[in-house]
């Protein structure tokens, strides 16, 4: 176990070099976010104040997008999938076959370290932005909601990592995984609720999407924080989220075992 702590330490040192990069990334990300918020404000502007649209007041809608930004900066994979694919292509994986260290565990530690640094840096521009929008920001109502949200963000992070890891492992079979990464990302962008809250969709679509793993990356933790997901839906959601975390982990393990049989250790 101790060796993995060293990996986390190394990961932190490595990603610290990118801190300015992260800061710019987070700040740049606020441009389209502001654009989306203006668009929603324009939609609500044509209605009486306090109007509810798809179950959201303007303040709730704005908070939804702000919380998506927060959860996304905590859990999003940055370079991990590209690095994993590169490790496979360049033979960097070989050393892990010889060392008493599990590659998935190693990558997970690096992901955790990377997210810790990224979140710290992103906190600066994002909290300024939220402060700017504070008039219409609703956060978690009570400590219990906050803790539940935090726990589901933790699970979301694991799920996000396992999905990215599995997609990156396709590098065992195909020459260029970037298209697969982007296709996966496009699906995720829509079905995770990044683009809009999923419950403004027609009910059938909404319920169908809830069966896929994607809503448990963003929509679910954000919905808990906002108090939109409660009671029965909350527990059902947690069961599905846990189910997808375990499933994604198992698939990742199977892919790895199969991939190794194809692995030719180029350059290793």
């Amino acid at each position: 176990m101790e060796k993995y702590f060293h990996v986390v330490g190394l990961g932190i040192q490595n990603t610290l070099a990118y801190r300015v990069n992260f800061l710019c990334r987070a700040a740049f990300g606020l441009v389209p976010l502001a654009g989306t918020l203006f668009l929603w404000k324009a939609i609500y502007a044509d209605r009486p104040t306090g109007a509810i649209l798809g179950g959201y007041t303007l303040a709730q809608m704005i908070s939804y997008y702000l919380l998506v930004t927060v959860v996304d900066s905590i859990t999003a994979v940055a370079e991990d999938d590209w690095q994993i694919a590169a490790d496979i292509k360049d033979g960097g994986v070989s050393q892990f076959l010889l060392k008493p260290m599990d590659y998935l565990g190693y990558r997970l530690c690096l992901y955790g370290a990377g997210r810790a640094i990224y979140t710290t840096m992103a906190l600066i521009p994002v909290s300024f932005f939220i402060l700017f929008q504070r008039a219409s920001f609703v956060g978690p109502a009570d400590p219990q909601t906050f803790c539940l949200a935090l726990f589901s963000i933790f699970l979301a992070g694991l799920l996000q990592f396992f999905i990215a890891y599995t997609v990156a492992l396709m590098a065992f079979w195909v020459l260029d995984v970037s298209t697969f990464i982007f296709i996966q990302f496009a699906l995720e962008y829509l079905a995770s609720g990044h683009l809009f809250p999923l419950d403004i969709l027609p009910p059938i679509l909404h319920r169908l999407i809830l069966l896929t793993p994607y809503p448990y990356l963003l929509y679910f933790p954000v919905g808990i924080s906002l108090g939109q997901i409660r009671g029965h839906d909350l527990w059902r959601g947690f069961i599905l989220q846990a189910f997808w975390v375990v499933t994604a982990f198992v698939i990742a393990r199977i892919m790895w075992a199969r991939g190794l049989r194809k692995y030719t250790a180029v350059g290793g």
């Binding site: 300015v20 990069n21 990300g29 324009a42 939609i43 649209l53 298209t179 496009a186 683009l195």
Partner: protein, 271 residues
């Protein structure tokens, strides 16, 4: 001293050779070629889905009807994909040229270096995505029951060129940052965020700092909005076209100035 015509002829033939080379390279990876078209198509689809979900809850956004916004998203796709086809790959590789010192090699070529770094790779696949954008433009126009005149189409053509030029100059400016920080892979990502807002209707933005910056400094809210308004006949006055051309010229001049200034600060990575 060669005449201007000779120079143009020479550059056209060089560009022809570069395009040919890019095509040959591309055809080596046919599946990948098709997958990239699919990726761009998915993202375009996402934008349309987003808009149609919004219009499931409202009839108009800041005075824009559903099909007017679809028209805007189509125009934006057309312009962005043309930009992609000609420049994006090259500009996103720019920081690598500096990091590896390959740029030195390009300085030695008897061709304008900015020309080479900007157009070296031609992405034919994006032309198909551009056509999809154009198809959506046509479809939205039929839904709106509008048939633009020849003059409008010609104006649209020029506006699109100006739009591509704005995108190019701005991303080139961003790419110049890699002269100072070697690790500038964030450039593509940063730019992606910027042109994300180009597909939103300008009237949704209240007059204020945000709208002013993205109209008069980084004219993202002009490049797709003005051509869409021209086709939909919703421009308030013909002189509304001028800012696009003015900003296109201005952005290019600034980017050329910064490029020359950056070159003076260039210290090769390999020597």
């Amino acid at each position: 001293m060669k005449s201007g015509f000779e120079t143009v002829k020479r550059y056209v033939s060089i560009y022809g050779a570069l395009i040919r080379y890019s095509l040959i390279h591309e055809m080596q990876f046919k599946v990948n070629f098709l997958l990239w078209i699919l990726v761009e198509f998915l993202w375009f689809g996402l934008q349309l889905v987003f808009m149609s979900v919004l219009y499931g809850h409202t009839e108009s956004i800041a005075g824009w009807s559903k099909w007017e916004v679809v028209l805007l998203v189509g125009c934006n796709q057309f312009i962005q994909q043309l930009f992609h086809m000609l420049f994006v790959t090259n500009l996103s590789n720019f920081s690598e040229l500096i990091r590896k010192g390959t740029l030195d090699l390009l300085f030695l070529q008897p061709v304008n270096t900015r020309f080479l770094v900007s157009v070296k790779k031609f992405e034919i696949g994006n032309s198909i995505n551009a056509l999809m954008g154009l198809a959506v433009v046509f479809y939205a126009l039929t839904k709106l029951g509008k048939m633009p005149s020849i003059t409008q189409w010609i104006g649209f053509g020029f506006l699109c060129l100006a739009g591509v030029s704005v995108h190019y100059s701005l991303m080139f400016l961003l790419a110049c940052v890699s002269f100072w920080t070697v690790r500038a892979q964030g450039i593509v990502w940063g730019y992606y965020n910027l042109f994300n807002i180009a597909r939103l209707p300008i009237d949704a933005f209240p007059r204020g700092a945000y709208r002013a910056v993205f109209t008069w400094v980084l004219p993202m809210l002009l490049v797709s909005n003005v051509p869409a308004k021209l086709l939909a006949n919703t421009l308030s006055a013909p002189q509304d076209l001028l800012p696009v051309f003015g900003m296109a010229g201005l952005c290019y001049v600034v980017s050329e100035g910064v490029w020359r200034w950056s070159l003076r600060h260039y210290t090769s990575a390999s020597s």
